[in-house]
């Protein structure tokens, strides 16, 4: 069942258009993550769904009802803010009860809702505290608890982990995943700039860039079959390497010649008209390996070696006009700086993009 749908939604501040033609269907029980670099419009989109920003064009439906002009409280949503936004002058209990009181619930209803949410989040013993007497992780849990008690149709999370330190962030991320497991029916929308959060939490990821949706899909789908160079380089760390190449043979498999002498044949279909065209070959650093044979993709001079133990990251001198080239090899490799190395990768792990950056898979 469709829980939330955006049709041709756009947003502009005066003449500045920050979101264009956003179309998205979100099913009940999904955990959707909006991810993208800062300024891509992901937070604005979330705030439009919440009703904190007006919608300039298009329609927003929640549970089949158009809610463009409905105030936030009546949309059936709850939101967890980046700064938690706990009311500093109210106890934990009052923070969680505030919305229910405004909605005119009886004190019995309020009490049982607050108590059960507090139990789920292990906040029972903190109900009488003021927010300033809580740790960062506890505040985060109160903010989540506050949204749970409202029993909303859609949960909205606006970068909820970015104020936590690294260790707590991992722990809370797992808690949120467990929370989602325990509430399979509830829909969640989660905004982050951190691709690890996106990959680990999402049932589907929405990649936003420059006010557009670049791709929507399950985490591994985005990793394995990115729709364009932006998604390809945004998902995965270090980012995917892009190599300039020319198509030398077309058909069910495509053959390429790299500008610096390497060559490859990838199991991706191409059209006859692609013959001789300039394309970009994408290869993830972790798919690369060192080879001694002439069957290499890229040959380059090693600039920097980062030995991390479990992996070794090799940075190569970029060719003129090209991006830095990175390889991430498992285990320990003792290679001297300045060595000329040949690198290769399995053909099925290679990605092919046309000159505009679009993947050959999605043509």
């Amino acid at each position: 069942m469709t829980s939330l749908s955006l049709k041709d939604v756009s947003k502009s501040y005066g003449a500045v258009e920050v979101l264009r033609d956003i179309n998205l269907e979100i099913q009940e029980g999904e955990l959707i993550v909006f991810v993208g670099p800062s300024g891509c419009g992901k937070s604005t989109l979330l705030r439009m769904i919440a009703g904190l920003e007006s919608i300039t064009g298009g329609t927003l439906d929640i549970d089949g009802v158009q809610v463009n002009d409905v105030p936030p409280a009546q949309r059936g949503i709850a939101m967890v803010f980046q700064s938690y936004a706990l009311y500093p002058h109210m106890t934990v209990y009052d923070n969680m009860a505030f919305a229910l009181r405004l909605a005119g619930k009886t004190s019995n209803e309020i009490d049982s809702a607050v108590k059960s949410a507090a139990k789920t989040l292990q906040l029972d013993h903190l109900l009488d505290r003021l927010p300033k007497a809580l740790s960062g992780g506890q505040r985060q849990r109160v903010a989540i608890g506050r949204s749970i008690v409202r029993d909303p149709k859609v949960f909205l999370f606006d970068e909820p982990l970015s104020n936590l330190d690294a260790a707590l962030r991992v722990a809370t991320r797992i808690e949120i995943a467990q929370l989602k497991e325990s509430m399979p029916q509830s829909t969640m929308i989660y905004v982050t700039h951190d691709q690890v959060e996106a990959m680990t939490l999402a049932s589907r990821i929405v990649v936003l860039h420059g006010g557009n949706i670049e791709q929507v899909g399950a985490p591994l789908e985005l990793y394995e079959r990115p729709a364009n160079t932006f998604v390809a380089q945004f998902i995965g760390s270090p980012a995917m390497n892009m190599v300039d190449a020319t198509v030398t043979a077309t058909g069910a498999e495509t053959s390429l010649r790299m500008d610096d002498g390497g060559h490859a044949t990838v199991p991706i279909a191409s059209l006859e008209s692609d013959m001789g065209k300039k394309v970009k070959l994408g290869v993830r650093p972790e798919d690369l390996s060192i080879t001694e044979t002439d069957d290499f993709l890229v040959a380059a001079k090693l600039a920097i070696v980062e030995a991390l133990g479990e992996t070794t990251v090799l940075y190569f001198d970029p060719r003129e006009g090209a991006d830095a080239f990175i390889a991430k090899l498992p285990g320990i490799h003792k290679v001297a700086k300045g060595t000329e190395l040949k690198l290769t990768a399995p053909a099925e792990k290679l990605h092919l993009f046309d000159e505009s950056g679009k993947s050959f898979l999605y043509r």
């Binding site: 936030p72 409280a73 803010f81 980046q82 936004a85 500093p88 919305a99 405004l102």
Partner: protein, 382 residues
């Protein structure tokens, strides 16, 4: 600079000493008024107030009891006994029986005045005056005493000013008049300004920056300009001179600072909290009363103190909008100015009246100084 290695301790001492001197200079005037308000008129005009804090030697003249009524026979002479002090005895350093030599004897000595007449003065002030009947007659014998006067203070001035005084000397009515002006003139502008400040801080509407600029501009308009037009207006619409007029005037005159101060504070509250309240279903009115007001308490307190001090200490607005020809609604500042004119030399009255008028602001000041400082820091236009 204590933490810095190799610093000169002489400099530290100079700093401490300078601060002590400055504090004393700033405190001295107020302490003078305070001390003077506990001295009698005679004490004030006979010595500077700073002298009253220490024991002083003072020449006084006493007279023994009337011999005709109080002499009793003791053998063939008569004796008059008594004490020169009414209350507690004071240390006597010397005494005499003639104005030519007021310190001829020490306490416990007897003065021989010839003809069998003598006078014995004990250190505790009791005396025995003995002599034949022809000497002990007429008025009592004068005794010149050099006594040490310890610091001596009285509550009498306050008694006069607050309770028993009549007419201008009684500040009780003016005190309550001032209170009557001050309390509504402090609370009402807060309520009105808080709503306006919230609108200017957190509500979206066209013309908002212009309105803020308007408030900033009015912040510095001298209220002198408002006097005639508003007095004409008040007289024209029938408010006339009285409490209503002064409340309205104080409310309006305090408004720019109130709006400016409160808006600056409210705009600094986290946006997330207000948006979260919106998501929670609060209306603007509820956000204001349940979230903004409690969180703005420090700013509200700051402004309340400002407005209280300003209305309590005001003279001009009260003179123009409140005090009519009958003078029944006079406030303390005005009464003190009138006292300065009519009783300029009566420092016991003036000092006490002035201290009565500044006592409450001083209490408020010391109790709530924290908020006053915070308000000052937020209120000065940057």
């Amino acid at each position: 600079m204590d933490r810095i290695a190799g610093h000169k301790s002489g400099l530290t001492w100079a700093v401490h000493l300078s601060v002590v001197i400055l504090v004393v200079m700033w405190l001295f005037p107020t302490v003078g008024l305070f001390v003077s308000s506990f001295r009698t008129a005679d004490q004030i005009s006979s010595s500077g107030w700073w002298a009253s804090l220490f024991t002083a030697e003072q020449n006084e003249v006493f007279r023994t009891l009337d011999p005709d009524d109080h002499k009793v026979a003791d053998g063939d002479v008569f004796v008059v006994k008594g004490s020169i002090f009414d209350g507690a005895p004071r240390p006597i350093s010397a005494w005499g029986v003639s104005s030519k030599d007021v310190s001829a004897y020490t306490p416990g000595d007897a003065a021989d005045m010839g003809g069998g007449e003598s006078l014995l003065l004990q250190p505790d002030g009791s005396y025995e005056w003995r002599g034949p009947a022809n000497k002990l007659k007429g008025r009592g014998q004068r005794i010149f005493v050099t006594a040490e006067v310890p610091p001596d203070f009285t509550m009498g001035n306050y008694e006069t000013i607050l309770f028993s005084g009549s007419g201008q000397d009684n500040m009780a009515r003016a005190f309550f008049n001032t209170l009557t002006v001050t309390v509504p003139a402090t609370i009402i502008p807060i309520v009105i300004a808080a709503f306006a400040a919230y609108a200017l801080a957190w509500m979206e509407f066209p013309g908002r920056p212009l309105l803020i600029a308007f408030v900033v501009a009015l912040l510095v308009v001298p209220l002198q300009l408002a006097l005639i037009p508003l007095l004409r207006l008040h007289l024209g619409i029938g408010i006339g001179k009285g409490y209503l007029g002064v409340w309205l005037a104080h409310t309006a005159f305090g408004m720019p600072l109130a709006v400016y101060l409160l808006r600056n504070y409210m705009v600094g509250l986290p946006r997330d909290i207000i948006e979260n309240a919106k998501v929670d279903g609060a209306t603007d009115f509820q956000i204001f009363t349940k979230i903004i007001l409690p969180l703005s308490f420090p700013a509200l307190a700051s402004f309340a103190i400002f407005q209280f001090l300003w209305t309590w200490n005001d003279l001009l607005v009260a003179k123009v909008f409140l005090i009519d020809a009958t003078g029944s609604t006079t406030v303390m500042t005005n009464q003190i100015v009138e006292l300065l004119g009519t009783r300029g030399g009566n420092w016991e009255i003036l000092a006490t009246a002035a201290f009565v008028s500044i006592a409450l602001p001083l209490v408020v000041f010391f109790a709530l100084q924290r908020y006053l400082v915070r308000g000052l820091l937020a209120g000065s236009v940057k």
